[in-house]
């Protein structure tokens, strides 16, 4: 540890790698699944935080990637949801290979900014693309679990109806959550909106207006987040209230 770190380190430390054991997995989409882990010593996380996941090969080679946490609250259970990036190093392993009983390492929770706390009372607009739903799902769950009455809205953009993570949970009626589905490649039969990428008009039609000063959380692939965030600012949202999490990629 450097002198600087010792002298100025803020009070909380991320600390060591924890060993997590896979409790269950659930196929969510043709390319993605959720993974529930038991991580002794984890101690809970805020909605919206992420973890670093570390894999170690038998020869000692290691790879680490960040994954948002779909669960929130106290305890040692952690749920992740991962979309397979076909030529990727880590995500195909997590989606196709990992089984209940397997171990992997996690560090965190990380990030104290892209988070929603149950003490927040303002309206919340969530906008997610693909696996970008993951930290937003944690916020929705935290909202429900805490009995918060803050109005929540979600705009969720997926390729086709099959590509939605957490579909049944999101389809469960929730008086404090309003969900708008957007499809970019194929819609359900009889769906009024043709398949296309999210546009300013979608946000204008379905999201809380800027005049309500909602807290806004946008998460997904870089291009998605970039487009949505620019549209939100064009619609008058205060950039300070628009929080983004970019998952990388196109």
């Amino acid at each position: 540890m450097t002198e600087r770190e010792t002298r100025d380190a803020p009070p909380h430390r991320v600390g060591l790698w924890h060993v997590g054991v896979v409790v269950s997995t659930n196929t969510e989409t043709p390319t993605g699944r959720s993974i529930v882990l038991d991580v002794p010593g984890w101690g809970g996380n805020l909605a919206g935080q992420h973890a670093d996941v570390r894999l170690t090969a038998p020869d000692g080679y290691q790879a680490v990637r960040s994954y948002s946490i779909a669960s929130a609250g106290d305890g040692d259970r952690v749920e992740l949801a991962v979309d397979r990036f076909p030529t990727g190093e880590v995500s195909p392993y997590l989606v196709d290979e990992l089984q209940p009983g397997d171990e992997l390492e996690l560090r965190g929770p990380l990030g104290g900014w892209f988070v929603w706390r149950p003490s927040q009372t303002e309206s919340v607009q969530l906008i997610g693309g693909g696996s970008g739903i993951v930290p937003l799902m944690a916020m929705i769950r935290s909202h429900t679990a805490s009995g918060s009455t803050a109005p929540f809205r979600l705009l969720y953009s997926v390729r086709t109806p099959d590509d939605a993570f957490f579909r049944s949970e999101l389809d469960t009626p929730n008086p404090h959550l309003d969900v708008t589905w957007l499809y970019t490649r194929r819609t359900p039969d009889g769906w009024p909106r043709p398949a296309s990428r999210i546009a300013l008009a979608d946000i204008e039609a379905s999201a809380f207006a800027a005049s309500l000063a909602p807290a806004v959380f946008v998460c997904g692939p870089t291009g998605f987040v970039e487009t949505v965030a620019n549209d939100l600012v064009a619609l008058g949202h205060d950039p300070q209230r628009v929080k983004t999490e970019r998952f990388g990629g196109a």
């Binding site: 090969a57 790879a63 992997l104 990380l110 900014w113 870089t222 965030a229 600012v233 950039p239 628009v242």
Partner: protein
């Protein structure tokens, strides 16, 4: 005490001595920022260095471009674990900008358009180690990568290379900036993996 992940073999097996520990190479240029990308007209752009005694030195876009411009070829390392080799930039060295500014303090807070902040020791900005960069790969810097101008401090994790740079403020002691208040290391040396608190 790492646990072995059953069935994981990994992909990039070669050790590259130029790659800091825990990093992997990418050919893309990923974008990571905390909020929307600000839209800044170079006609309104201004860069300033503020001293502890409130003296402010400022440069307009044209004034910055009238200074000696350097080509910078360097590797960059993001705390989210991607590294990119041989990136090429053009910009003005902080040595040039500090030439007429007698430093008042050892620490600096970088402030960006849009409100982002990050802290850096002054010595990490001087001695040919940092620039105000406005070109990437022969083109004006894209807004999503920090255009019109960003700080470039290649020897630290890239969150220190504040996008949309607006000013540097000298401080008598080290104070955490935006990500530093949100869990990131105060210094950020990629070779020491100074990622988090």
């Amino acid at each position: 005490m790492a646990v072995i992940s059953r069935g994981f073999t990994g992909r990039s097996r070669e050790h590259n001595p130029e790659l800091p520990p825990g990093q992997y190479l990418t050919a893309d240029f990923p974008v990571l920022s905390a909020g929307p990308t600000p839209d800044i007209d170079t006609a309104d752009w201004q860069f300033g260095i503020r001293k502890d005694d409130a003296t402010l030195h400022t440069w307009t876009w044209d004034e910055l471009h009238a200074l000696p411009i350097e080509d910078i070829d360097t590797d960059i390392h993001c705390v989210t674990r991607w590294s990119k080799f041989g990136t090429s930039w053009r910009g003005v060295s902080l040595d040039t900008l500090f030439a007429g500014v007698e430093p008042s303090d050892e620490y600096v807070m970088a402030h960006s358009y849009g409100g982002y902040t990050t802290n850096v020791p002054l010595e990490d900005l001087l001695g040919g180690k940092a620039w105000i960069a406005f070109e990437f790969d022969g083109e004006p810097l894209d807004p999503e990568h920090g255009g019109p101008a960003r700080l470039l401090i290649p020897h630290l994790y890239f969150w220190k290379s504040a996008k949309w740079i607006r000013s540097l403020e000298m401080m008598p002691s080290d104070e955490p900036g935006f990500w530093e208040q949100n869990g990131y290391n105060m210094y950020g040396d990629p070779w020491l993996e100074q990622r988090y608190w």
